[in-house]
Amino acid sequence: MSDPQTRLERELIQSARRGDLHAFNRLVESYQDMAYHTAYRILNDPEAAADATQEAFISAYRHLNEFRDGSFKAWLLRIVTNACYDILRARQRHPSESIDDLLGADEEREPPDFIDHREGPEERAVRAELNRFLQEGIAALPDDQRVVLVLADVQGLSYEEIASATRTNLGTVKSRLNRARLRLRDWLLERQELLPERYRLDSGPL
């Protein structure tokens, strides 16, 4: 994030803390795609992701005073992660509700709205394919591994930020991420032929 943006962001946060809802909503606007994307990857369900995102922004507004210097994005993602965990826990308590989502529903589901500037219809179809493929692979991971993988490889948080977001320690983050990546790799390699050609691993010499 470039410097002027950070300065603007800091000003918005200051104003929002003083109760300026308009300033806070400008922050929401600049982060809602990122927040929703994260929740979507973790929860694999558009409605649940929207719920988690809304819940996260409400909670962020409520706890804005607790934000200290550092990355606002990482702080926000921590709240989003919490909101996602709430939903994941609720699913565990009532598993029947989510099984429908996991089975079949994926097929009929419209592809999400991608943020992409080179939008041609063909391009869009390929991206949708890649997206579904990756999403399925991520969804196959255990919850804890999936959360860490999304925060690290989709959102690019540091290990330290992930540890804080998931309330674990560095060692746990490292081992979860490692296991998640290995597992996802195996999953992807087994189904490579389903990938659009350009995304396949060319089996050249190593």
């Binding site: 709205d113 991206r127 290990y159 992807l188």
Partner: protein, 276 residues
């Protein structure tokens, strides 16, 4: 093979540049020699890079907060750790108070029955047969004398007079039990006085009416009590005295617990008001 496992554990960290220099050098050296691990690394790198190409998704709607949402977000107060722990403390202190208090009452009434043994070591050995327990029970209860104990003492008190009737004629030795009943109803402090009052035969007479009056008031009883020991000079402080003194901390604990309850309830109220 265990080496391979160790290497795969490190590949992820290696990709992120999170190995320290020595680990990194060792891994690189191993990778130069091991095709298997090179393949592992290549496939892992590929998978991670693919993941990083996951198309960013646009939020399906705006998540900006409305005025109502914002208003609802702010005042909604979730009890913080301070509130929670205060609540826990209140409950704990209240329960402890009840436990201590009832243990106190139970033990004293039983103590009263078993007291004769200690009384026997005292001068009044031969003295009032059934009389002894009764007054002493009254005494003990009273020496605790937290308001309600007065009630507990009440049923015992009636026994007092009958004792006295017996006691007076019998002997000085019989006097103590009777007196204690009277003074006992009232005083915690005069404990030692029970022993002192052994001699006076007249004392019981004083005691009689006092006992009749005193069942209800605890606090007011104390003054009535004090004269009793002073009627006669102390002859010998008995074991009883020591036993009773040992009971004093009970009351301190009770008062302390009650204080904790009151304070923490006050704290809870203050927190509520402050947050609201």
């Amino acid at each position: 093979m265990s080496n391979l496992e160790h290497v795969t554990d490190q590949l992820s960290l290696f990709l992120d540049g999170r190995l320290n220099r020595r680990e990194q050098a060792r891994l690189e050296e191993h990778l130069r020699a091991c095709v298997d691990c090179r393949r592992q690394l290549a496939t892992l790198r590929y998978s991670v890079s693919l993941m990083k190409q996951a198309p960013p998704i646009r939020a399906p709607r705006s998540f900006t907060l409305s005025d109502e949402q914002a208003a609802r977000a702010l005042p909604r107060w979730q009890p913080g750790w301070l509130y929670q722990s205060l609540r826990g403390l209140t409950a704990f202190a209240a329960v402890m108070f009840l436990v201590v208090f009832s243990a106190d009452i139970l033990s004293t009434s039983r103590f009263g029955v078993s007291a004769p043994s200690s009384a026997q070591t005292a001068p009044a050995t031969s003295a009032p047969f059934n009389a002894v327990p009764a007054p002493q029970a009254a005494e003990d209860n009273q020496s605790k004398s937290v308001a309600t104990t007065a009630a507990a003492a009440a049923p015992v008190a009636p026994a007092g007079p009958s004792t006295r009737a017996v006691a007076q004629p019998t002997a000085p030795a019989s006097a103590p039990p009777a007196l204690p009943a009277t003074s006992g109803v009232a005083k915690p402090t005069t404990v030692a006085g029970t022993a002192e009052s052994v001699q006076p035969t007249t004392a019981p007479v004083v005691g009689g009416p006092a006992a009749a009056v005193s069942p209800q008031p605890t606090a007011t009883a104390i003054p009535i009590a004090t004269p009793a020991p002073s009627v006669e000079p102390a002859s010998a402080p008995t074991p009883e005295a020591r036993v009773r003194l040992g009971e004093l901390p009970w009351r301190a604990v009770e008062v302390g617990l009650l204080g904790v309850v009151v304070l923490s309830v006050g704290g809870l109220l203050a927190l509520r008001i402050y947050r609201a």
